[in-house]
C-alpha cells in the first residue's frame, strides 16, 4: 500500500456517507470511536459520540496529564513541613490514630529526616528530596489539605479516580473524554501510560469506563510492544510484512468488489483497513521520541538511567497532548510510594525516579505555550502517618497509611501558580484548614474544563450520574488563576 492510496479522513467519510447505512455512518462520525471500541448498539435512549458536550470551550483547560502516585507519598517528608513534629520527634502522639498494620503500630512521633527550604518568588517550602519540583513552585498550586478519610489504598484510589470509594464507576479520564470529546483524528482521546514494572494496584480498573460505553475507556499505551492494544502489528508481522498482507488483502477485496460493483459497505470496509493502517502510523509517530532534541531529552532525564523510563513517559504524555489527546494518566509500578519500611531509602528512590521528569513536564509545557490549556496533576490517594511504623531498628522505620490528610499539586490549565492551599494539623495527621475532598478536586477540575459538576451528567439506569456522585462538592476558587 503506497502512501498515496490512503484516503484522507474526509474522503473516507464522504465515501461512507454516500453508501453505508446511517447507523454505520453514525459510528464513523463518532470522531474516533475509531480507536476505542465503539458502543455495541446505539440504543434508543442514548447515543454516544466524542463530540464536545458544549459548543466552544468555556473553560481554560483543554487537556490534562495526571501523574498518579499511588501508594501514598509521604506528605510530611515532601510537601508539608511540620516543625512541631520535628521538635517532638520521639515523643508519644496523644491523639487517636487508625493503623493498618497494628503489629508494628507505635505512637512515637517521627519527625521528617529531611530539611525543607523555601523556593521561588512564592517562597513555597519544599523538601530537599524534590530539588526539581522546587524550581517550578511558582507555576504550581500545592494543596496540603487533601483527604479521603479512608486508609486503604483501593477505596481511596476509587475516590480520587471515580468520585466514590467503591469500584465500578467511570474513571476521571472517561468523564473528561465524555465531556470534551476528541479533537484528535488518529489517536485515542484517553491514554494510559503504564509502568514497565507492572500495573498499578487494582490493575485495569484504574482506567475503566465503568458503565459508560467502551468508547470512553482509557487506551493503554503499554511500556512494551504492542504499545496500543490491537493497534500495533504483531511482532511476527513487523516491518513490511503486514503491509504485504494488507496489499494482498486489498487485492482480494478489490476483486471481490469487482463482482459486487457499487456495494458501498464493501468499499467502506476496504477503506477501514486503510484507515487502521494510517492510525498505526499516526500512533507510531506520536510515540517516537527520536525527533525530540537532545536538550529536551535531557530536560526529562532521558540521559540518566534512573529517570529515563519515567522521563520517557512524561515526554510521551506531552507529545500526545500536543496531538490532541485529552487525558493522559501515568501510573507507577506496584506500590513504590507505600513506604512502610525503611522510608529513608524508599522515599528517596521514588523521588529520584519521578522528580526530574515531573518538573520537566511542567517546564516543557510552559515553554511550548501548552501549560495554559493543560492541567498537570501530581499526587496519590493517601498520605502517611506522622508516627513511626516500628520495624525494630530506627533506620528501618517507615510510616503507615493516612487518608486523613495529604498533599497534591496542580499546575496549568487555569490553576493559580505559586500558591499553597489548605493545611494539616501541627503534626500533619489530619487536614484541618480548607479541606479538599476528592469530590471538591473533581468539581474544580470540571470547572477548569468549563463544566458545572452538577450539570455534567451521564444517564445510567435512567438516572443522571455525576462525577461528583451527588456528594457535597465545591469548586475551589482560590486555586484558580
Amino acid at each position: 500500500m503506497t502512501p498515496t492510496s490512503f484516503y484522507t479522513r474526509r474522503q473516507f467519510l464522504e465515501r461512507n456517507a454516500l453508501g453505508v447505512g446511517s447507523v454505520a455512518l453514525a459510528c464513523l462520525l463518532r470522531n474516533d470511536g475509531l480507536l476505542a471500541t465503539p458502543p455495541a448498539v446505539p440504543r434508543t435512549a442514548q447515543s454516544f459520540d466524542l463530540k464536545p458536550k458544549i459548543s466552544g470551550s468555556r473553560g481554560r483547560a483543554r487537556a490534562m496529564i495526571s501523574l498518579f502516585m499511588h501508594g501514598g507519598p509521604s506528605h510530611v517528608d515532601l510537601f508539608d513541613p511540620k516543625p512541631e513534629l520535628s521538635r517532638r520527634s520521639g515523643e508519644d502522639y496523644s491523639g487517636e490514630i487508625t493503623f493498618s498494620f497494628v503489629d508494628r503500630a507505635s505512637k512515637k512521633l517521627f519527625g521528617s529526616p529531611w530539611q525543607f527550604q523555601q523556593h521561588g518568588a512564592s517562597g513555597t517550602a519544599v523538601s530537599e528530596l524534590l530539588p526539581h519540583f522546587a524550581r517550578i513552585v511558582d507555576d504550581v498550586c500545592l494543596i496540603r489539605s487533601m483527604h479521603t478519610d479512608i486508609n486503604g489504598h483501593e477505596p481511596s484510589i476509587w475516590s480520587m479516580n471515580t468520585g466514590r470509594a467503591q469500584p465500578g464507576r467511570p474513571a476521571l479520564g472517561s468523564w473528561v473524554t465524555y465531556a470534551l470529546g476528541n479533537p484528535s483524528q488518529d489517536l485515542p482521546a484517553y491514554v494510559v501510560l503504564t509502568d514497565p514494572g507492572g500495573n498499578p494496584v487494582d490493575g485495569a480498573r484504574n482506567w475503566s469506563n465503568g458503565w459508560m460505553p467502551p468508547l470512553f475507556q482509557g487506551t493503554v499505551v503499554r511500556s512494551r510492544e504492542p504499545r496500543i492494544l490491537n493497534l500495533d502489528s504483531p511482532p511476527r508481522l513487523q516491518g513490511d510484512l503486514q503491509r504485504q498482507n494488507l496489499q494482498f488483502l486489498e487485492k482480494l477485496n478489490r476483486e471481490h468488489l469487482a463482482r459486487h460493483p457499487g456495494e458501498s459497505d464493501l468499499e467502506a470496509r476496504i477503506a477501514s483497513y486503510e484507515l487502521a493502517a494510517h492510525m498505526q502510523l499516526a500512533a507510531k509517530e506520536a510515540l517516537d521520541l527520536s525527533g525530540e532534541s537532545e536538550a529536551t531529552q535531557k530536560l526529562y532525564g532521558l540521559d540518566d538511567p534512573i529517570t529515563k523510563e519515567y522521563g520517557t513517559r512524561c515526554l510521551l504524555a506531552r507529545r500526545l497532548i500536543e496531538r490532541g489527546v485529552r487525558f493522559v494518566q501515568l501510573f507507577v509500578n506496584g506500590q513504590i510510594w507505600d513506604n512502610h519500611e525503611n522510608i529513608r531509602k524508599g522515599l528517596a528512590d521514588c523521588c529520584r525516579k519521578t522528580d526530574r521528569p515531573s518538573a520537566a513536564l511542567v517546564m516543557d509545557l510552559k515553554a511550548r505555550g501548552l501549560l495554559d490549556t493543560t492541567i498537570v496533576h501530581w499526587g496519590g490517594e493517601i498520605g502517611r502517618l506522622p508516627v513511626t511504623e516500628n520495624h525494630g531498628a530506627a533506620e528501618k522505620a517507615g510510616r503507615d497509611h493516612n487518608g486523613q490528610g495529604f498533599s497534591t499539586w496542580l499546575a496549568g490549565g487555569g490553576i493559580r501558580g505559586g500558591t499553597v492551599y489548605g493545611a494539616t494539623d501541627e503534626f500533619g495527621h489530619k487536614a484541618v484548614e480548607d479541606r479538599v475532598s476528592p469530590n471538591d478536586y473533581h468539581a474544580t477540575l470540571l470547572h477548569l474544563f468549563g463544566f458545572d459538576h452538577s450539570e455534567l451528567a451521564f444517564h445510567y439506569n435512567g438516572q443522571p450520574q455525576h462525577l461528583t456522585d451527588g456528594k457535597p462538592s465545591r469548586v475551589i476558587h482560590n486555586l484558580l488563576a
Binding site: A40, F101, F248
Partner: protein, 917 residues
C-alpha cells in the same frame, strides 16, 4: 427521515429520574412524526390544504402535546377538553378556543403560536403550528361524526383501531402470477409488486453460493469442503430442500437460531443494574432450553406459553415446584420461565434503593415481553397515556397486573430466593452429614485460634513491664462490650496489643499457617458435599394475589386506582372488557400468566404472528418486511409488503397442511424457514443491476438478495470452524470471560495474582473454542471480539442489531491475539490436510475459508504473495538478542510456515469471508 430521528437523539436534553427511556423515545417518536408529517405534506398538506382533517392531521398533534392536561390526564386544565373538534369549539373557562376560518381569533392557535402553550419545554414545531393554522383557515374540518358522549380519559378512535397491525389476521389471496421464477407464494406476492415497478427477480445464485448461504443462515457456520462436494455430486432435483432439512435437523441449527431469540429476550449471565453485576449462575438453563426447543421445533405458540407460564403449567401436574423440577417435562417448563428472569435485577446489591430497583425489574420485564410478543413500545404508557399509540396508561398497569403475583414489589424475592432446588432427599441427607463434620472441625479450629492469639499476646507482652502487662492482658481478655473506659483507653494506647485473627500472621506466622491449613481442611470436607444445583425460574408464592395500582406519573409512591390483569384495549372489540378470564376458585397460582399466554397466542392477538414472521424474515434477509421489528405501532414503519406479511402470518398459525393453496405451518419455525429459504427471493443472486437499482435503489422490493455482513457470533464461530479449533460441545455453564492485562475482555478463566492483579493464564482444555452462544454474557464484560462486531450489550434487550463498519474491526482482524491464533491454527490445519506443497495448501485454504476453489488469478497472486513474504521474512530474520539468550521451547516456524499463516489471516479478514453473498 431516519437521519432526522438520529439527529434528534443527539440533541436529547437531560431527562429527570426514570423518565429517560420513555421520555427519549417519546421525543424520537415526536420528531419522527414531524418528519412523516413533512413528507406527507408534500402530497397532501401543502398542495391540497383543503384536505386537512381533525382526525388525520390535527388530533395527533394535540394528542402528542396537549391531551395530558386537556382531556386524557387526571385533571382537566382550564376546563378545556381538546379530544373532539366539538369540544375545542365549545372551549373552556376562557371561552371558545376555535373559530373556524379564523386562526387569529382562535385561542388554540394563538396560545401555541405565542409559545404560551404547551406549558412544558417542548413546544410545537413550526410545521405543526402551520398545520393547525391551515386546518382552522380551511374550516376546521372533522370527517367523522363525533360521539355524543365521551367518557373520561384516553379514547381509542376508530382510525387507531384500524391501524394495520391491530386488524385481525386474514389470509389474503395469493396473486395469480405465472412464470418459471415463482417457486412459492412468497415469490408470487413479491413478483406482483415487481410487475408494477418493472422489476424482476435476479437469476439464482450459483449453487455453491447457495450452499454457503444456507449453512451460514441456518448454522452460523460455513460449509466444509466435503459438504460442498457432497452437494455438487447430488444431482437429484430436491437436493436443495434436502440440504435445508439436513441443516435444520442438526443441533447446530438450534445454537444459531437461539441467538436470535436470546437477543430479544435480553439473555445475560449476570444481574446487571449495579457495577457489581453479579453472575447469574443458572441463567444458562434458559439458554439451553431455547436451543433444545428450537432443535425439536417446539411449536412457537407452545414455546411462548411455556416461557410465560411454565411454572403454572408445572403446578397443574405436580404438587410443588421441587417435585415438578424432578420431572423431565415439567423441568423444561420451569426452565422456560427463565425468559421472565432475564431483566437486570439489582435488588440483591447493597446500597440500592429497593423501591426503584424492584420496579425497574418489573418495567424491564414488561419491555421484554411487549417488544418480543406484542411488537409495541408500551413503556411510554408507564407514566402517562401513550402519546402516539392507542395505549392508555391503565393498559400498562393491567399488563403489569399479569406479572404482579410473581413480581410483587411490596413482597419482593431477591434473585437467590427465586431459585428452585434440584436436590433430591438423598442429596440433602448427604449434605447434612458433611456439614456436621465440617462444623466439628471448625469448632476445633476456633479453640486453637484463641490459644494461638493468647500465646502471641503473652509473648508480645513480655516487652512491657509487669503492671502494664497484667493490665493489658486483663483488658484484652475482657469481652469488648464489658471493658471499662480505662481498659478501652489502655488498648487504644497500645494498638500492638490488639491481636486479632486477621493480624496474627504479623506476630506468629507459623500459628497463622496452621490455622490456614485447618481452614483448607474444613474447605476440603465441605467440598465433598453434593453440589446443589438450581433452576432459575419465575414463580409465584402460593396464593399470592397482590393488588395492582396505576402509578400517577409512573411513581410508585403515588398509587391511584386498582386495576385487574387484562389485554390491550385496542385489541378488544369496542365496548367489551379486555379483562383476562381468570378461574373463580383459587388454585396454587393466580393463573394470570397462563391466561395471558393463552390470549397472546390466540387469534385475538394478531400481533404475535406478524411479529415473529417478520423477525424470521429479518434474520434471513437482513431487514424485516416491517423495518421496526419491535414497533408495529403508529410510529413504526409500515410493512413494505402488507399482504405478504399477513399471508405468511396466517399460514404460520394455520394447522399443518402441505397443500400450497391451504398452506398451514402449525407454528413451526423450521417449516417457516424452509418456506422462505426455498423461495426464489431467497435463492436469487445478490448481484446488482444498474437499471433495477434506479427503480428501487434500496432493494425494498427484493429484486436481488441483499449482501449481508455476518453477525458477530457467526464471524467468531466461522473463524473457529475454518481453523479446525471449533469445539462443538453443547450446553452447560457459560464459558467464562475475563479481563486481560490491559482491560480487554477475552475468553478465559479470571485469575489474577499479586498486588497489581496481573492476570494469570489458565489452560481451558479446548473450552475456549466453543461456539459463541456458550460464552458468558456478563453485562459489564462484553467479549471484545463480539462487541467490536456489534454484538449487543444487554442493557435490557436487543430488538435489532446494528451493523457497523469501523476501523477497530479492521484492527481486531489485523492484530488481535484471537485473529493471529486462529490464523496459526488454520495454517497448521492446512499442513495436516494438504501436505507440504503450497499449491495444495492454497487450494485447500480457499475451499475451507470461502467455500470455493481459487480462481487462476487468485492462485497466482497467492503464490506470488507467498514468495514475497518468504523473501521478506528471510531478509528480516535477524537474530533477536533476547531470543538468542534462551533456547526457545518451540522452534520458530520456517519462513514458509509464517508466510502461510499470513495467507490464512488475510483470507480470514477478507470481505468474501465476512460477508454472505
Amino acid at each position: 427521515m431516519v437521519q432526522l430521528r438520529r439527529n434528534a437523539l443527539r440533541r436529547l436534553p437531560a431527562f429527570p429520574f426514570n423518565g429517560l427511556r420513555a421520555g427519549a423515545r417519546a421525543l424520537v417518536l415526536a420528531l419522527g412524526w414531524v418528519a412523516l408529517g413533512v413528507v406527507a405534506g408534500g402530497s397532501t398538506a401543502s398542495n391540497g390544504a383543503s384536505s386537512l382533517t381533525f382526525e388525520q392531521h390535527v388530533r395527533p398533534i394535540l394528542k402528542a402535546h396537549c391531551f395530558d392536561c386537556h382531556g386524557e390526564g387526571d385533571a382537566l386544565r382550564g376546563g378545556l377538553d381538546l379530544r373532539l373538534r366539538r369540544f375545542i369549539e365549545q372551549g373552556g373557562e376562557s371561552g371558545p378556543a376555535l373559530v373556524p376560518g379564523k386562526p387569529e381569533a382562535s385561542r388554540i392557535y394563538e396560545k401555541v403560536r405565542s409559545g404560551e402553550m404547551p406549558k412544558r419545554d417542548r413546544k410545537l414545531s413550526e410545521q405543526e403550528i402551520d398545520i393547525l393554522k391551515r386546518w382552522i383557515q380551511t374550516g376546521a374540518v372533522a370527517t367523522r361524526d363525533e360521539p355524543a358522549n365521551l367518557s373520561e380519559g384516553m379514547q381509542i378512535t376508530p382510525d387507531e383501531r384500524a391501524h394495520w397491525a391491530f386488524l385481525p389476521l386474514r389470509q389474503p389471496p395469493v396473486p395469480k402470477i405465472a412464470g418459471g421464477r415463482i417457486r412459492n407464494s412468497i415469490d408470487a406476492f413479491l413478483a406482483a409488486r415487481h410487475e408494477s415497478q418493472h422489476l424482476t427477480f435476479s437469476g439464482d445464485a450459483p449453487p455453491l453460493t447457495g450452499v454457503r448461504r444456507a449453512f451460514l443462515d441456518l448454522w452460523g457456520l460455513p460449509p466444509t469442503p466435503s459438504d460442498l462436494e457432497a452437494y455438487a455430486l447430488d444431482s437429484s432435483t430436491n437436493a436443495y430442500p434436502r440440504l435445508l432439512e439436513r441443516l435444520m435437523q442438526s443441533p447446530r441449527y438450534g445454537e444459531r437460531w437461539a441467538r436470535h431469540w436470546l437477543d430479544i429476550a435480553g439473555y445475560a449471565d449476570s444481574d446487571g443494574y449495579t457495577s457489581d453485576d453479579s453472575p447469574r449462575p443458572y441463567a444458562y438453563k434458559y439458554r439451553d432450553y431455547v436451543i433444545r426447543s428450537l432443535n425439536r421445533d417446539l411449536p412457537f405458540d407452545r414455546f411462548v406459553v411455556e416461557q410465560l407460564a411454565g411454572d403454572e403449567l408445572a403446578l397443574t401436574q405436580h404438587r410443588d415446584l421441587e417435585t415438578a423440577a424432578q420431572d423431565p417435562i415439567a423441568h423444561e417448563w420451569l426452565a422456560a420461565t427463565g425468559y421472565l428472569r432475564m431483566a437486570a435485577d439489582g435488588t440483591a446489591s447493597a446500597g440500592v434503593d429497593q423501591d426503584t430497583a424492584r420496579n425497574q425489574v418489573v418495567a424491564d420485564t414488561l419491555k421484554i415481553v411487549s417488544t418480543s410478543l406484542l411488537g409495541l413500545s408500551i413503556g411510554c404508557a408507564q407514566c402517562h397515556d401513550h402519546r402516539y399509540d392507542p395505549i392508555p396508561q391503565a393498559d400498562y398497569y393491567r399488563l403489569r397486573a399479569v406479572f404482579e403475583p410473581a413480581y410483587d414489589w411490596k413482597n419482593w424475592r431477591k434473585p437467590s430466593e427465586r431459585l428452585i432446588s434440584l436436590f433430591t432427599a438423598a442429596d440433602r441427607a448427604k449434605a447434612a452429614a458433611v456439614e456436621d463434620e465440617a462444623s466439628r472441625l471448625a469448632k476445633e479450629k476456633e479453640a486453637k485460634q484463641t490459644e494461638f492469639i493468647d500465646a502471641a499476646l503473652r509473648k508480645h507482652l513480655e516487652k512491657f513491664d509487669s503492671v502494664l502487662r497484667d493490665a493489658l492482658w486483663t483488658a484484652f481478655k475482657t469481652p469488648a462490650d464489658q471493658r471499662t473506659v480505662e481498659q478501652k483507653k489502655l488498648l487504644s494506647d497500645h494498638p500492638s496489643a490488639n491481636i486479632s485473627a486477621g493480624v496474627l500472621y504479623q506476630y506468629d506466622p507459623k500459628a497463622a499457617d496452621e490455622l490456614k491449613a485447618r481452614d483448607s481442611k474444613i474447605a476440603e470436607v465441605r467440598a465433598r458435599k453434593p453440589v446443589e444445583d438450581f433452576l432459575s425460574a419465575l414463580t409465584e408464592p402460593i396464593g399470592a394475589s397482590p393488588v395492582t395500582y396505576r402509578f400517577h406519573r409512573g411513581d410508585p409512591k403515588q398509587p391511584r386506582e386498582a386495576l385487574l390483569p387484562a389485554t390491550l384495549s385496542v385489541l378488544s372489540s369496542a365496548g367489551l372488557s379486555p379483562d383476562l378470564p381468570l378461574p373463580s376458585e383459587s388454585p396454587p397460582t393466580s393463573r394470570r400468566r397462563l391466561a395471558f399466554a393463552k390470549w397472546v397466542t390466540s387469534s385475538s392477538n394478531p400481533l404475535l404472528a406478524r411479529i415473529i414472521v417478520n423477525r424470521v424474515w429479518m434474520h434471513h434477509f437482513g431487514r424485516g418486511l416491517v423495518g421496526t421489528p419491535a414497533n408495529f405501532g403508529l410510529q413504526g414503519e409500515r410493512p413494505s409488503h402488507p399482504e405478504l406479511l399477513d399471508w405468511l402470518a396466517a399460514a404460520f398459525v394455520a394447522p399443518l397442511n402441505a397443500d400450497p393453496d391451504k398452506l398451514g405451518l402449525g407454528w413451526s419455525l423450521k417449516r417457516l424457514n424452509a418456506l422462505i429459504m426455498t423461495s426464489t427471493a431467497f435463492r436469487q443472486s445478490s448481484a446488482r443491476d444498474a437499471a433495477m437499482e434506479q427503480r428501487d435503489p434500496e432493494n425494498r422490493l427484493y429484486w436481488r438478495m441483499p449482501l449481508q455482513r455476518l453477525d458477530a457470533e457467526a464471524i467468531r464461530d466461522s473463524l473457529l470452524a475454518v481453523s479446525g479449533a471449533l469445539n462443538d460441545r453443547m450446553f452447560g455453564p457459560p464459558v467464562p470471560v475475563r479481563e486481560d492485562a490491559v482491560g480487554q475482555i477475552i475468553v478465559g478463566i479470571d485469575k489474577k495474582q499479586g498486588d497489581n492483579k496481573m492476570p494469570v493464564e489458565v489452560a481451558m482444555g479446548g473450552e475456549e473454542f466453543r461456539r459463541s452462544i456458550y460464552v458468558e454474557v456478563r453485562r459489564s464484560r462484553p467479549l471484545a471480539f463480539l462487541n467490536t462486531f456489534d454484538a449487543p450489550v444487554m442493557e435490557v434487550n436487543c430488538e435489532q442489531r446494528t451493523r457497523s463498519t469501523v476501523a477497530p474491526q479492521a484492527l481486531m482482524l489485523m492484530n488481535s491475539d484471537v485473529a493471529l491464533q486462529q490464523a496459526q491454527l488454520f495454517a497448521d490445519r492446512l499442513r495436516r490436510d494438504a501436505g507440504p506443497f503450497r499449491e495444495a495448501r492454497i487450494a485447500r485454504a480457499w475451499r475451507l475459508a470461502l467455500g470455493r476453489p481459487p480462481s487462476r488469478d487468485e492462485y497466482e497472486s497467492a503464490l506470488e504473495f507467498l514468495d514475497r513474504q518468504v523473501a521478506k521474512i528471510t531478509a528480516q530474520a535477524v537474530p533477536q538478542p533476547d531470543a538468542a539468550a534462551k533456547v526457545p521451547a518451540v522452534p520458530a516456524p520456517s519462513p514458509e510456515e509464517q508466510a502461510i499463516r499470513s495467507l490464512c489471516q488475510t483470507l480470514l479478514s477478507s470481505n468474501e469471508f465476512l460477508y454472505l453473498d
